[in-house]
């Protein structure tokens, strides 16, 4: 039977076969630490003394990561969870002091609120700008790699997807080592033969570029986790990435919440907007919200109307996120869907020439 390490706000216990082998009672000051996925130092020492080298199962990923530097800990499986739950319940029934854990939780929650509201949107802005930087760098390096590797195997440029192209080079290097489906063209390639060390340096570049792709994925995941906490409504309405871009362009959630919808509509199209204001050219219909699939994917003459409707909902979403925190995005989303359906129905055909191209000169 395995050993279970059971964490509760009442204390930390080690059990085998339902039997208590060790129980270290938690004082009030220990509870926050336990809730954060750490064990008090003196507890770790005690457990280490008794159970070093034995496999111990825990149900908290954070504890597994942190504790494996001292002990042989593993993450509990679904079957183990049942047993852990049973023991926890017993501990709670016997020892829980409600008022004590309630006081500690309220204090901890206050502390977390203080930390959470401390400019978390600044983190989002940095992360999304890092994504854009990575995109630029990846593009630059991939075009370098394409030119370079084309000296050896120009026909591979038919692989249009950058990431796939990079992976092929990283994996195979020499064109004669390519898998079946490329061998035919590889044999009749116009490219020059290369020494292994020439190819090695290209493969090395390819593998660095691949790491940049992984980095980008990591950042996107981070944003997908962070945006719903800081701006749940924006996140649901347009997805975490576009929500982050809007915050970045506005300079923060607070500023975004205070912008009129008409400005949100053209955020990211400043050049076109000022061209309109200064020279009287046509105003931009959309800024970065062009990335929203239903703006981008609609016919040209509907886009502006859809962008305007979307910007109005975004402005409400940003205000809810900044001022109240209540999640109303589903209502906003379905209102928007209704409006988009209406626009599509009403403006099925492009407007007649002449009527639409009135340019507004001052």
């Amino acid at each position: 039977m395995p050993l279970y390490l059971i964490t509760t706000s009442e204390g930390i216990g080690v059990y085998r076969d339902g039997e208590k082998l060790l129980f270290l009672e938690a004082k009030s000051e220990h509870i926050p630490e336990i809730m954060e996925g750490k064990l008090p130092r003196e507890f770790v020492d005690e457990i280490e003394k008794r159970f070093k080298g034995e496999e111990i199962l825990v149900d908290d990923k954070r504890i597994v990561e942190w504790l494996s530097q001292y002990l042989l800990v593993k993450l509990a499986s679904d079957d183990d969870l049942r047993e852990i739950k049973r023991i926890r319940r017993k501990i709670k029934d016997e020892m829980e002091e409600w008022n004590r854990i309630r006081d500690v939780s309220i204090r901890m929650t206050r502390e977390r609120i203080r930390r959470a509201s401390a400019d978390r949107d600044k983190l989002i802005i940095q992360a999304i700008e890092a994504v854009d930087d990575l995109d630029k760098s990846i593009n630059l390096l991939v075009s370098r790699l394409r030119e370079w590797y084309s000296l050896h195997f120009p026909e591979l440029n038919d692989v249009k997807d950058h990431e796939e192209y990079v992976q092929l080079i990283k994996k195979y290097g020499e064109r004669s080592k390519f898998p079946e489906k490329y061998l035919e063209i590889a044999k009749s390639s116009m490219g020059a033969d290369m020494e292994p060390e020439d190819l090695e340096v290209m493969r090395s570049l390819a593998s660095r570029i691949e790491e940049l792709y992984r980095m980008r994925e990591e950042l996107v995941k981070y944003l997908e986790d962070l945006v719903p906490r800081v701006a749940p409504n924006l996140g649901i309405l347009v997805g975490p990435l576009l929500a982050a871009r809007l915050m970045s362009l506005a300079g923060g959630l607070e500023k975004l919440a205070k912008l009129p919808a008409s400005t949100i509509q053209v955020l990211g199209a400043e050049k076109a907007l000022f061209r309109h204001l200064r020279k009287g050219k046509n105003p931009p219909k959309h800024g970065v919200i062009y990335q929203y699939p239903k703006v981008r994917g609609s016919p040209r003459w509907q886009r502006g109307k859809i962008a305007r409707a979307l910007a109005a909902k975004l402005s409400i979403a940003a205000r809810m996120d900044y001022f109240s925190g209540e999640v109303v995005a589903d209502e906003l989303k379905s209102d928007l869907e209704d409006r988009i359906a209406e626009i599509r129905e009403k403006y099925k055909k492009p407007p007649k020439k002449g009527a639409a191209s009135r340019s507004r000169r001052r």
Partner: protein, 229 residues
């Protein structure tokens, strides 16, 4: 005015002369304070808070004739997605001084309001955390008799199952509010509810009832299930 006990313990029915229909209410555990601007009725030494079915999905489900109500005086409830505490405050009323409710809410802005509610009501504990990561509050919650979930996330079934696995006692109940539009706006709600029921059954629940909430809430349902363990 006529006040009678509802067949669910801790819930009352109120019929007022000048208003149509019967309303439901709970007895205010924190007399003299309102939570969301609800009407308060004082009658023979007690304070009743009217439980608005247009504001609270659980109230809507009761109005629509929910067959069983696992939340009763003394229950230990894990409430996922407590928001600013509209429904949670009525749950707090029902379970009373012997009951316990853990309120998990992810948004720190919403939590600001919820925490003042928790300070006034001795049976509530606030948890600022993500319902997708139940291990982060397992050591505090330990176990529960009932999980009430209203999170409006596309992966809500998974969230319910993860929490049940770790924190719902065998034979305990889950009440899950499903919003079809937060799963897929384009699909027929009936299809979505069916699919969610299947997911929950696969995770070890016996689904007792699926209650649609219209006309109080559009495209919403409450799923009531018993956890086999």
């Amino acid at each position: 005015m006529e006040i009678t006990k509802h067949r669910f313990k801790g819930v009352y029915q109120i019929k007022e002369e000048d208003r149509p229909g019967v309303e439901i209410a709970t007895v205010n555990l924190s007399p003299g304070t309102r939570v969301y601007g609800e009407r308060i009725i004082r009658h023979s030494g007690r304070e009743y808070r009217i439980w608005d079915p247009y504001r609270s999905k659980l109230s809507a489900a009761i109005h629509k004739g929910l067959s069983e109500m696992p939340i009763s005086p003394g229950s230990r409830v894990l409430y996922l997605g407590a928001a600013s505490g509209t429904t949670a405050s009525h749950v707090s009323d029902i379970i009373g001084e012997d009951g316990k409710i853990f309120c998990v809410e992810m948004s720190s802005r919403t939590m600001r309001e919820l925490i003042t509610l928790c300070e006034r009501r001795k049976n509530m504990i606030p948890i600022l955390g993500d319902a997708r990561k139940p291990w982060e509050y397992s050591s505090l919650v330990g176990y529960s008799d009932v999980i009430y979930q209203d999170v409006a996330q596309p992966d809500q079934a998974k969230i319910a199952l993860e929490n049940a696995k770790r924190l719902l006692k065998p034979g305990g109940f889950a009440i899950i509010a499903i919003k079809s539009r937060s799963i897929d706006v384009t699909k027929d709600p009936r299809e979505i509810f069916k699919e969610e029921v299947r997911k929950i059954e696969r995770g070890g629940f016996e689904v007792i009832e699926v209650k649609r909430l219209d006309p109080f809430e559009k495209d919403h349902a409450i799923i009531l299930g018993r956890f086999e363990g």
